[in-house]
Subunit: 218 residues, 2 copies
């Protein structure tokens, strides 16, 4: 399989999102230049990105929106169902469990796990919360494709490696640390909220300086 | 001010995080090659990234950890306080309000806003929840540096533009849509959870295929 850069992959969900919106508004066909204007990327970038997967347009005819949407869905693995467990049923874990959008894309949250006895036998949007000691048995009985890790960073490495030992092939990591895993085949996707906030803060400060030096139109 | 690519900026919080951990473990000085081994990026990448800001190491002496940590903090604007309001006090909004780590970096959540009357006069970790109609008065009386947008995507553009009209200079967008704002000087940082999950799913499917074709060591 040809190696495609993660920068390209990172853009694919955005294409998928925009194509979904086009379908919702009844658009059947779109040129790469129209798509480019909507998405605020160059038409050549779009063609290059899609060419990584064989390309889907015919010169002069543009893209068939529904077809392209489905093909990108397949590329992203959205034609398969993915079972997710959430490890850490605190505020963030419960927020994820409550987020129904994920199901639309084939991501099904099947259970939450926590150490807090107050959460025992609770449910979040009908999804059961189990105690941590029930995790091993659950993972042996049920297919788990992704574990979302919504726990403090101090425990993240230990628990993540335990999930790896249980054979869980992918971790969606919300702990504010880069996991060090024993098995390099396990896929990790990080959501580092503090990093994201710092990037915003950099841009705020930079923008303020530019306004002071008169580069802005304000 | 020299334009620095967002790819470089995206890596800076990670340097900051690693340097913070080094300080916590009592390390005072580190070579770019040691830092590179820990962070799993090349030493030349580290030097290049930091050279964007003038460079902070002396050849052969490595970096002074505390000094570099503070300098990167300044670059990221963490020497200033940032007041955040959360617009949308549902599960995700409350999860953000409960997250105390942000305060450590100077991000202070000052209020939540929602349309749900059940939340009227509630507090989340002591932070007041106000009704949406109180937003304008609040923003006029209090400095707001960042609005976190944790609302459904159908309302995101309208509400975001209202926040822009109120003079709020930055939006931390959790709605699953790219905002179309009337003022291009407003900074936007997106946290698209579905996109992140799709990227993970792409890598899972790719990994599975590679294992089947025997490229993996499993």
């Amino acid at each position: 399989m040809k190696e495609i850069s993660q920068a390209v992959i990172r853009r694919m969900p955005r294409y998928y999102r925009y194509l979904g919106e086009l379908i919702d508004s009844g658009v059947e066909r779109i040129s790469s230049s129209d798509l480019s204007a909507r998405m605020n990327v160059t038409a050549s970038q779009i063609r290059q990105d899609l060419n990584n997967f064989g390309g889907f347009g015919q010169q002069g005819y543009g893209y068939n929106v529904k077809n392209l949407f489905e093909e990108i869905g397949k590329i992203l693995g959205l034609n398969e169902k993915h079972n997710i467990i959430i490890v850490g049923a605190g505020n963030l874990g419960q927020a994820l469990a409550n987020y129904i959008e994920f199901e639309k894309f084939g991501f099904l949250i099947t259970a939450l796990f926590d150490i807090n006895p107050d959460l025992k036998q609770q449910r979040v949007r009908g999804i059961p919360v189990y105690m941590s000691e029930e995790l091993d048995a659950f993972a042996q009985k049920n297919r788990v494709d992704i574990a979302a890790l919504t726990i403090p960073k101090s425990k993240a490495d230990t628990i993540a490696n335990h999930l790896v030992d249980l054979g869980i092939p992918a971790i969606w990591n919300f702990a504010n640390v880069d996991l060090e895993l024993s098995d390099k085949n396990v896929m990790v996707e990080n959501v580092h909220l503090s990093d994201s906030l710092m990037q915003l803060s950099y841009n705020i400060v930079k923008n303020k300086k530019e306004m002071q030096t008169g580069r802005s139109n304000v």
